[in-house]
């Protein structure tokens, strides 16, 4: 379980970092989305992994930690709003600068 989780986070963050380093805004947005998925999972497991456990003391033998769940919910909402904003900004950038390069100029290199 821990290994699967770790590999999943690693894959998400790895692909996220790779895409974020691209030169076009679309891959960058995808990259940041993947990055935030990975990070959200990371925050989620900071309360340790447990299966089929209720986050209420007394209801199960080894209650899971409710706090990371609350934290990750906040983080998801914030990340979602930020990504939406970035999409709008990228669209406006394309409209005003007439291309989707992150530096606003065209250098002929593909994204």
């Amino acid at each position: 379980m821990e290994v699967i989780m770790a590999l999943m986070i690693a894959t998400l963050v790895g692909s996220g970092v790779y895409l974020t380093l691209r030169a076009r805004t679309f891959p960058v947005i995808l990259g940041i989305t993947l990055l935030s998925y990975g990070v959200n999972l990371f925050v989620f497991v900071s309360g340790r992994l447990s299966v089929n456990q209720v986050p209420v003391v007394g209801m199960s033998e080894n209650p899971s930690d409710p706090l990371p769940q609350a934290l990750v919910l906040t983080a998801i909402v914030i990340g979602f709003a930020m990504t939406a904003f970035l999409v709008v900004l990228a669209l406006r950038g394309e409209g005003e600068l007439n291309n989707d390069h992150v530096d606003g100029g065209s250098d002929g290199e593909g994204g």
Partner: protein, 496 residues
Amino acid sequence: MEHLIIAPILIPAFAGMLLLLEVRERQHLRRLTGLLATLALIPVALGLWHQAATGEIDVYQLGDWRAPFGIVLVLDRLSALMVLLTAVLALPALIYGSRGDDRRGANFHALFQMQLMGINGAFLTGDLFNLFVFFEVLLIASYGLALHGRGPARVKGGIHYVVLNLIGSALFLVALGLAYGTTGTLNMADFAVKVNELEGNSLDLARLSGLLMWVVFGLKAALFPLYFWLPATYASATAPVAALFAIMTKVGIYAIARVYGLAFSGGALAGLGRDPLWIIALVTLGLAAVGVLGARRLGEMVAYLLVMSVGTLVAGLSWSSPEALGAMLYYLIHSTLVCGGLFLLADLVARGRGELGDRLEVGPAPIGRGLLGALFFAGAIAVVGLPPLSGFVGKVALMQAVPAPVYWLLLLGGGLIALIGLSRAGSSLFWRATGDGETHSLDGPRLAATVALLATTPALAIWGEPVLEACLAVAAQWAQPSLYIDAVLGAGGSAL
């Protein structure tokens, strides 16, 4: 009065939401709401400072959930000082913005209030995750404000700024996950206690968490190599927004000071990241001086001067003695207000030069050449650190507190380079100007706002001793983290 501590967050929050409801056509009503809310922050901040100056640390437990389980707001001298500084900077910036810049896009006033809410919240919170949330509040408002007024340059700078800060937020979440995973708490005071009980792998993970926080706060503070976004973003933002942003880098510096002072000034992880911070701050200082020389626009030059002040401040902070922190806080007040004033001045100059704007090329003289020239002269002297203005007092205090030859060399050398850059800018803007620019006169309130911010520098120099003493008192309290920790963790019993 015990609820006063949350007022700096609630006032802008309510004003911001009210502004969203108000009719867009009635600009006067919106200006009035925004100005009243910002004006109200000043007596509140003064009251809080008065309260904190007694040396008592006030803890406000939200929803009466006992620390360390609930979220707390903590008012000590350091947070009171920062809230007061924010209020003093915000009012002139908003007055300036209310003279027309707020018409250039929707919801300027609402965003401005939300930005203030985020900044004040970041200064007052005593919880690491809550700090993250307030960072996001101030960031999303700042995205809107940075792009306020449209234009390709703003969009270009804006994309870099947003993407970098989103990555910064992701790193901050990783740091928080590590902090929670190892210590099981996110309350700053509780974290500072628990981090000392760790050993083995957990201690290494906590160290990693701390170092990641330095990266995130370094990005907010615009430290090398994470400052390249700043000049482009600040120079292309509208003037009142750039002036308000002068406090944003200080949020990062405050966060470093707060977390370092509590968790890493002693105990198992004492001095975490101190030496790298020292070196990075010096590199920032040196490179920003080069940036000042290379700037092609006045706004860009002021932005580099701001980065320079960040280097100066973080170097003072990483020396981590109470004397150095006190001197650094004095310099922080000075540099925030003067850089804010210079951003406004750069815009005033640009207004009279038509197409040229604030580009540092010979062109028509700006409106009110004599007056603006005198203001620029005073601002330049202050920011470079020549006597008799406050920059000199601040630099002398810093040099006395940080007796390191390399720091002295960079501080003085950087000052000299900045002086060369500023003299060149001043002579091409004011002396070598050809003919007169546009004929209409300077806008009164705009000028008053600029003068108000720049007038703080002689005031800070005249009352240098009491201000410096107050800063040293702040630093003395900072140097005793046990006071803060006891106040937060001992507050459980008292009902609010």
